[in-house]
C-alpha cells in the first residue's frame, strides 16, 4: 500500500489500452460502449486531439501532428472520462485524483464495456500514466532539496540554470514493461513559485505479452512500480509539502 497525500500533485492519471482487433473497426463501437457506461459517464463529447507521427519529407524527417476526433464520455463532474477511438480505450482522471482504489473501478468499467462491445483479439499496448505538476514556493530553489530525479550538471558547468527537461526509459518485469520517466520545468501559474512536471508513463513493451484475462494483474504490478518510482523521485521535504495522510 503506497502513501496517500492530502495535496497530491497528480493533475492527470490515465490508463490506455490499444487493442488487437478481431474484426475491422466498426463505427458503431463508441456509441455501443457509451450505452454500457452512460450511467457513470453521461456526458458525450467529440474532442479534437492530436497524434504525433514522424515521416520522411522533402527536407528530411518531419514531425507531423495529425488532428483527429475522439469520442469522450465524461462523468457528471467532468473529472473522469472514458475515451474511445479506433482500437483504443483510455480512462482518464483529472485533478483532484482520488486513490488507486477509486480509480481502478473506473478503468475496469471502461475495459469491460469495450471488451463486450468490440471483442478485441488481444492487447497491443497497455499504459498507466501519472502526470504530476509540482509547485514549490520561491524563485530559485536547490533541485536536490526536493528531487532525487533531476538533471546532473557537472561542476564546470553553470550551476544556475532555467528551463530544463530530463527523461529516462527503464525496463521492468524482465523487460516486459517500460517506464518512461520525464521531468521538466513548467509554466509558472502563481507568483513567487517554480513549477515542474513529473510524468511517469509505465507501459507494456511488446505487443501480446499480456492476455486480456490478465490485464488487471498487470495493472496492479504497473501501479506498484509507478508508486515506487514516484516516491523514489522525491525527497522527504517534498513529501512534507504534499502532506502525507497516516491512518491511525
Amino acid at each position: 500500500m503506497g502513501k496517500t497525500y492530502r495535496n497530491p500533485p497528480v493533475i492527470e492519471a490515465l490508463c490506455e489500452f490499444r487493442f488487437e482487433p478481431s474484426v475491422p473497426w466498426d463505427l458503431a463501437i463508441p456509441g455501443l460502449v457509451y450505452e454500457k457506461i452512460r450511467e457513470g459517464f453521461p456526458i458525450r463529447r467529440q474532442a479534437k486531439v492530436f497524434e504525433i507521427s514522424l515521416a520522411g519529407g522533402p527536407t528530411g524527417v518531419e514531425q507531423r501532428v495529425l488532428p483527429t476526433d475522439r469520442m469522450q464520455f465524461l462523468r457528471e463532474d467532468e473529472k473522469a472520462l472514458v475515451q474511445v477511438d479506433r482500437d483504443l480505450l483510455a480512462v482518464n482522471h483529472l485533478r483532484p485524483y482520488p486513490t488507486w482504489q477509486e480509480f481502478l473501478p473506473l478503468i475496469r468499467q471502461g475495459f469491460d464495456a469495450y471488451r463486450q462491445v468490440a471483442s478485441p483479439k488481444g492487447i497491443r499496448r497497455i499504459g498507466l500514466r501519472y502526470i504530476n505538476r509540482i509547485e514549490i514556493p520561491g524563485q530559485r530553489i536547490e533541485l536536490e532539496d526536493y528531487f532525487e530525479f533531476r538533471p546532473f550538471v557537472g561542476l564546470n558547468l553553470p550551476q544556475e540554470f532555467g528551463p530544463f527537461i530530463v527523461g529516462i526509459q527503464a525496463s521492468f518485469e524482465s523487460s516486459r514493461d517500460t517506464l518512461r520517466l520525464q521531468m521538466a520545468s513548467a509554466a509558472i501559474e502563481a507568483p513567487d513559485t517554480v513549477a515542474f512536471m513529473l510524468d511517469l508513463d509505465y507501459h507494456l513493451s511488446q505487443s501480446g505479452q499480456v492476455l486480456l484475462e490478465n490485464v488487471f494483474e498487470w495493472m496492479e504490478v504497473a501501479h506498484r512500480h509507478v508508486e515506487e518510482v514516484f516516491e523514489a523521485c522525491i525527497t522527504s521535504r517534498l513529501r512534507e509539502m504534499f502532506e502525507e495522510v497516516t491512518e491511525k
Binding site: 492527470e12 490515465l14 490506455e16 473497426w25 463505427l27 463508441p30 467529440q46 474532442a47 479534437k48 486531439v49 492530436f50 497524434e51 504525433i52 514522424l54 519529407g57 527536407t59 528530411g60 524527417v61 518531419e62 514531425q63 507531423r64 501532428v65 495529425l66 488532428p67 483527429t68 476526433d69 475522439r70 475515451q83 479506433r86 483504443l88 483510455a90 482518464n92 483529472l94 499504459g127 500514466r129 502526470i131 530559485r140 530553489i141 536547490e142 533541485l143 550551476q159 544556475e160 540554470f161 532555467g162 528551463p163 530544463f164 527537461i165 527523461g167 526509459q169 520525464q182 521538466a184 520545468s185 513548467a186 509554466a187 509558472i188 501559474e189 502563481a190 507568483p191 517554480v194 512536471m197
Partner: protein
C-alpha cells in the same frame, strides 16, 4: 544546482509557456488529414507539418537521423492535459496573440473554443489567402461588466471592398454555421494594414 525561474526566457504567468516538450515554433500546413470514421469530422487540409523539435536541432546534421530518440518525449498520447497543451501550442503558432497570457487563460477557461480556432484558421486561409494573418485579442465590452469576447482580427492588405466581401462570404458559408459552438465568445473582423 539551482533552478532559477527568472532564467526562463519568457517571463509572466502564462499557463502554457515554457513547457519545453511542447511544440517547435515553426509550422507549415500541408496535405489532407486522414479520415478516421464518419463519426469523426476531421479538419480539412489541416495537417501541420513541424520540423523536428530537439534542443538545437536546426543546425544539427546528426539529430534528425534519430527521430525515435525525440518522439517519446513529445507525444501527448491519450493525456487530455498534454493534448490541450499541444493544441494551445498550435494556436500560438498559427495566430498572433495580443497579450498571450490573457488569451491562453481564456482558452483554458473556454476550451471548446480551441478546436474551433484551429478549424477557423484554415478557413481564413481559404478565404483570405496564404498570406493572411490573424491577431487574437480579448475585447471587453465596457457597457457590460465582466463581458469578454475573443476577437480574431484578420490582417489583410486587400481593398476594403474586397476584404468586406470575403468576410461576408466567410461568415455566410462557414462562421454562421459554427456560431452556436462559440457560445457568444468568439468573433472575427477585418484589420486593415
Amino acid at each position: 544546482m539551482i533552478y532559477a525561474a527568472n532564467l526562463q526566457s519568457v517571463p509572466g504567468p502564462a499557463k502554457y509557456q515554457q513547457v519545453p516538450f511542447s511544440l517547435p515554433r515553426q509550422m507549415e500546413w500541408a496535405g489532407r488529414a486522414r479520415a478516421v470514421s464518419p463519426d469523426i469530422v476531421l479538419f480539412q487540409d489541416l495537417v501541420p507539418t513541424l520540423p523536428l523539435l530537439a534542443f538545437g536541432s536546426e543546425s544539427s546534421t546528426v539529430l534528425p537521423a534519430f527521430p525515435e530518440a525525440i518522439k517519446p518525449w513529445q507525444d501527448p498520447g491519450v493525456s487530455t492535459v498534454r493534448s490541450f497543451e499541444l493544441q494551445v501550442s498550435c494556436i500560438k503558432q498559427i495566430y498572433d496573440l495580443r497579450r498571450p497570457p490573457e488569451v491562453t487563460d481564456f482558452l483554458q477557461a473556454h476550451s471548446f473554443l480551441v478546436p474551433l480556432l484551429l478549424e477557423a484558421r484554415e478557413k481564413i486561409t481559404q478565404y483570405f489567402g496564404e498570406s493572411s494573418q490573424v491577431l487574437l485579442e480579448l475585447i471587453s465590452d465596457p457597457e457590460v461588466q465582466g463581458s469578454v469576447e475573443l476577437f480574431g482580427y484578420i490582417v489583410t492588405n486587400l481593398s476594403s471592398e474586397d476584404a468586406g466581401n470575403r468576410l461576408r462570404q466567410f461568415d455566410q458559408e462557414w462562421f454562421l454555421v459554427q456560431v452556436s459552438r462559440t457560445k457568444g465568445l468568439l468573433n472575427f473582423d477585418i484589420d486593415f494594414q
